[in-house]
Symmetry: C2
Subunit: 192 residues, 2 copies
């Protein structure tokens, strides 16, 4: 298989994911979208909604994220050291809220909300096929976990769905109020 083919994956049916260079990962998370986080433990995948995340380093891409110890995903993330951060567009907003309104203790959320777990390449937790970007991550620093539930993770592999052009992300302002991406402006920044 030609080497470049590893940068494209055909998922079920016509769904294709394209590898994103690690140097571009920050452009997904820096703007502060609500994301989904998947974990897998004891043969079972789970998914949660997360808004407390930030970029920590460009390359390799490091991400800080706070996963409350009250979340069912916390134990899985701490025990396995692996997760997928998936970025949903506006069309998934109601499912994103549904995912956040219940716990993996009680519900198989993939089944309940019609989200499609899809095998990742480098980690056990699944990608979310409906999301326009998926980041396969491993935990690299746990020093702030006990005090703040703050994990530092490294993005090992990043995928985007080329069929979702110009996805609009959502940004949480509290209690179910979300601001949707509006217009894009371009300014002469020297900053990456």
């Amino acid at each position: 298989m030609p080497r470049w083919l590893t940068n494209v994956r055909i998922l079920s049916g016509s769904l294709t994911m394209k590898a994103l260079p690690s140097s571009e990962v920050y452009q997904l998370l820096e703007p502060g979208p609500v994301v989904l986080l998947t974990t897998a433990r004891h043969g079972r995948a789970n998914i949660m909604t997360m808004s407390w995340h930030m970029m920590v380093e460009f390359e390799p891409p490091l991400v800080g994220c706070v996963v409350s110890s009250a979340n069912h995903s916390f134990a899985a993330l701490r025990a396995t050291g692996e997760c997928v951060i998936a970025v949903p567009a506006l069309e998934l907003a109601s499912k994103v809220v549904d995912v956040g309104n219940c716990s993996g203790r009680d519900v198989d959320k993939f089944v309940a909300f019609g989200l499609t777990p899809t095998p990742a390449e480098r980690v056990a937790p699944p990608l979310v096929a409906e999301c326009f970007a998926n980041l396969e991550c491993k935990v690299t620093d746990t020093r702030l976990v006990n005090r703040y539930n703050l994990f530092v993770v490294e993005v090992l592999k990043a995928w985007t769905d080329p069929a979702q052009t110009n996805p609009k992300t959502i940004h949480h302002h509290g209690y179910g109020r979300f601001v949707v991406d509006g217009e894009t402006i371009k300014l002469k920044s020297k900053m990456r």
Copy 2:
């Protein structure tokens, strides 16, 4: 002076700042806006542009932020343990980029870009009068500073400008491309 008066501050002229309850601070930063960060050292204030931040705790509000050691602000933040995080609206976008395009080593950015430093109540670094929100912060955790330039800060006091109604924030996607807040949607979330 009646106690409630401490929740309103009259700045120069007609500019007024209203105290924001600490329980509502997360609603400003969770959506991922580009912010300004001020520091003060050796009698001199400085200001930088920052996009790598996240909420870490609701109350007291804790914020994680990455301030590169290449930034002039880094040494001041580490030495003094104090900063102000100021949230600019769209109208300040070009100034926000200007602030990011130069260094406090060379320029007094408040003067150069016509931003108004205003005394804070609990910390030495100034508020930015033109911003619709200002968060007075002290550093509470430096364990990840050496490795990641990641500071955890506590918000001691938060101010909003009641004259700026429905401010639209900007979100950086890299290389000067910013998405502006669009429409707001309300969904039935059980999450705070």
